[in-house]
């Protein structure tokens, strides 16, 4: 998949979606980004509970130097704010995660979730409509029966494409705590949803019950020291899944072992480096995202300062560690004070050998596992001419700042890239800043 080899990819600006003004409406804050299995569709969820799906244009044979553009395909309100009257709590409509199902027929299906409820949406196209009813006029009014003298069979005629989204299943009332992950099983029949303390297994057809497969809630909440932060099914083995914790551990569980997978099959944990110990060591070790490679042999985790690649066969340490923004290690107290230390960065890969994750100041980082080279790029409207190659950025940690470098103290910590996605087949990436979606492609020829 992708560029392969050790050749560095040259990333070019392709498109940017979203409002231009600096004043960000809260509802427009992007909260999740996900390509579908073919890469033709790109979905985003926002804090206002809306899902926007972009579709890639079919490749234009005459314009062979660029891949198809993504244009709005469908927009719908997935979740609404709710009020839990028993607990006097408002349930946010913010979309935490979107996951696509593989396409089985003409329609597309995706799961979207907020803190409490998961919904299965069907997105279908309508480009024909029946015309020529016997009893109705074209506008729907009933004809006077005495004027009907012949029998007509309605025929389908083309119409302007209409894309409809309809909720097909609503999976509710299964989570006391906030849902942070959903993951579709490789059997394409079941999926898991994880909150801070529990993981549930659902069947896509059944909404009135789910199996609880992980429960780490202690009998006495005062003993709580660890929460679940992310969970994902193995891409090939339908009985295997992993979940990460706030203490920097990943547990791999096999559902064949027992009904309740409280005892892990494998525990992945790296011993702490004593030279880096600080008051904030535990907080920055909390894993914010976990993703399997396409093969399922490796998995990637993201904690506050680094990305780690784990071989599923080796539990005691990762096989590779990449520093995302090590210059922040000396700023941890300030970042704790302004809560940035709790930011949950996601990570993604091209599935094989390049990983990508976001940082501050609208920077994002890419690491090539083969060449061990890394690059820092910026998502900004300043480079918004199509096919402009992005210039690598550099942060000056200390000492004299060179030209074009940015010093750590000038970084804008309000501009954070938390969500990124990589096209499953091509070198196209989607990067979400606070309220804009950037699409970058590699430079062709």
């Amino acid at each position: 998949a992708g560029a392969g080899g050790g050749n560095d990819i040259q990333w070019c600006f392709s498109q940017v979606k979203g409002a231009v003004d600096d004043d960000v409406a809260e509802a427009d804050i992007i909260s999740t980004v996900e390509f579908n299995h073919s890469g033709e569709l790109l979905a985003t969820g926002d804090k206002g509970g809306r899902v926007v799906i972009f579709q890639q244009e079919q490749e234009n044979k005459t314009q062979s130097h660029s891949r198809g553009e993504y244009n709005v395909y469908s927009t719908f309100q997935s979740h609404e704010p709710e009020f839990d009257y028993l607990k006097s709590l408002e349930i946010e409509e913010k979309i935490n995660k979107i996951r696509w199902l593989p396409q089985k027929n003409a329609a597309q299906f995706l799961l979207s979730t907020n803190d409490k409820t998961i919904k299965l949406w069907k997105i279908s196209e309508r480009d024909k409509r029946p015309e020529g009813y016997n009893l109705k006029e074209e506008d729907g009014r009933y004809r006077d029966p005495t004027t009907v003298t012949t029998l007509r069979v309605p025929v389908f005629r083309p119409m302007d494409l209409m894309v409809e989204a309809s909720p097909r299943r609503i999976f509710a009332n299964a989570h006391t705590y906030h849902i942070n992950s959903i993951s579709i099983n490789s059997d394409y029949e079941t999926y898991l949803s994880a909150d801070d303390l529990r993981i549930n297994l659902w069947h896509l057809e059944i909404t009135d019950r789910s199996f609880n497969i992980v429960d780490i809630k202690p009998a006495n909440m005062e003993e709580l020291t660890e929460v679940i932060t992310a969970a994902e099914f193995h891409p090939n083995s339908c009985s295997t899944f992993v979940y990460s914790s706030s203490k920097g551990t990943i547990r791999l569980c096999d559902m064949r072992a027992s009904a309740l997978c409280d005892r892990h099959s494998k525990l992945f944990e790296e011993p702490e480096d004593p030279s880096n110990r600080s008051f904030f060591s535990e907080i920055i070790s909390s894993i914010s995202d976990v993703k399997f490679s396409h093969s399922g042999r490796y998995m990637m985790t993201r904690d506050y300062l680094s990305v780690k690649i784990w071989d599923l066969n080796m539990e005691n340490r990762p096989v590779e560690t990449y520093q995302v923004h090590e210059y922040l290690r000396s700023k941890l107290c300030s970042l704790y004070e302004n809560d940035c230390i709790f930011d949950k960065f996601e990570c993604c890969w091209n599935g094989l050998d390049i990983v990508m994750t976001g940082s501050y100041n609208n920077f994002f980082r890419m690491f090539d596992r083969n060449s061990k080279r890394d690059v820092t790029l910026e998502a900004s409207r300043e480079n918004n001419k199509p096919r402009t190659v992005l210039k690598p950025r550099k942060v000056c940690a200390s000492g004299k700042r060179k030209k074009d470098e940015i010093s750590v103290d000038s970084l804008d910590f309000n501009k954070k890239i938390l969500h990124t996605a990589w096209h499953p087949k091509e070198n196209i990436i989607a990067v979400a800043t606070t309220n804009n979606l950037y699409i970058f492609q590699d430079k062709m020829n």
Partner: protein, 283 residues
């Protein structure tokens, strides 16, 4: 009114904290105990802020609680080596950490405040009750703060109870007569801001509690609605031995403070509860 005043002082405090945290990051010469105290204070401030939220973030609360526990453990080990002091206050000179010069004075007593004030960093305002209460935090106070916020995060209407069967811990009321109070405690959203630090200052100042008769604390609560047959058991606990009374008081911090505000909140809670009961019973 009180809320506004509180907020203003908090934001001053936050500005000071921003200065302190960048000092923490940039200065290598800040002594370790001072850094530790700074982090501890930040943690406790955050926990206090979360207490004010209707629904605190569980992930963050757990991380901060663990950080507090870690610091607590460190301080405990240090104090085992030095007999005098558990929790030093912030002071410009480092030598004041090792052994409190205040001659074995227990930090929990309110009179400790004045001693601390004289050692205060000049960034702190002497009259600020939040800062002062942070300075006199002791081991038990920290534990009870963590316990209190984690307990609040345990929802009563948890739809999937824990699968492991464990003998009842604090979840079950120890005295059946206290079930009325139990409902009170499990509604995390209606407590006032004073809860975390309310429990700090009062739950450990046991002498203060013993001075008050139980009846005095509850005399403002209107319990007339609870006198009918099918309603909840009476709010006021029966007279029990003094050891047992500390227990319900500890777990229901909103009833500890004798401030009128809290009693007011209790009264509103009760009428809302009654209203909900009416709906459920269908009367």
């Amino acid at each position: 009114m009180l809320g506004r005043g509180l907020k203003r002082k908090l934001s001053d405090y936050e500005e000071n904290m921003a200065g302190l945290s960048s000092a923490f990051d940039s200065s290598r010469s800040l002594p370790y105990p001072l850094k530790r105290q700074l982090v501890l204070n930040m943690c406790l401030t955050k926990l206090q802020t979360y207490k004010m939220l209707v629904e605190p973030n569980l992930h963050r609360s757990v991380l901060i609680a663990n950080t507090v526990r870690q610091i607590q453990e460190e301080m405990r080990q240090e104090s085992n080596q030095q007999p005098v002091n558990i929790c030093p206050g912030i002071a410009p000179s480092s030598h004041s950490y090792t052994g409190m010069e205040s001659s074995g004075m227990s930090l929990q007593l309110p009179s400790g405040i004045s001693q601390q004030e004289s050692n205060c960093c000049d960034l702190r305002s002497v009259e600020d009750p939040i800062e002062n209460s942070l300075l006199i935090v002791s081991d038990d106070d920290m534990s009870s703060a963590i316990s209190s916020i984690l307990k609040d995060l345990d929802f009563v209407e948890d739809i999937s109870p824990p699968t492991c069967l464990v003998p009842t811990g604090d979840d079950q009321p120890k005295f059946p007569e206290n079930t009325g109070l139990k409902l009170e405690d499990d509604r995390p959203d209606l407590k006032g801001a004073e809860c975390v630090f309310g429990s700090f200052e009062i739950s450990n100042s046991t002498s203060y509690l013993k001075d008050l008769a139980i009846d005095d604390i509850f005399e403002d609560i209107d319990t007339s609605m609870y006198d009918s047959d099918f309603c909840c058991p009476p709010l006021m606990p029966p007279r029990s031995p003094s050891l047992a009374t500390e227990e319900p008081l500890k777990t229901f911090p909103s009833c500890n403070s004798s401030s009128a505000n809290n009693i007011q909140i209790c009264r509103t809670d009760l009428s809302e509860l009654d209203h909900i009961m009416e709906i459920l019973v269908g009367s």
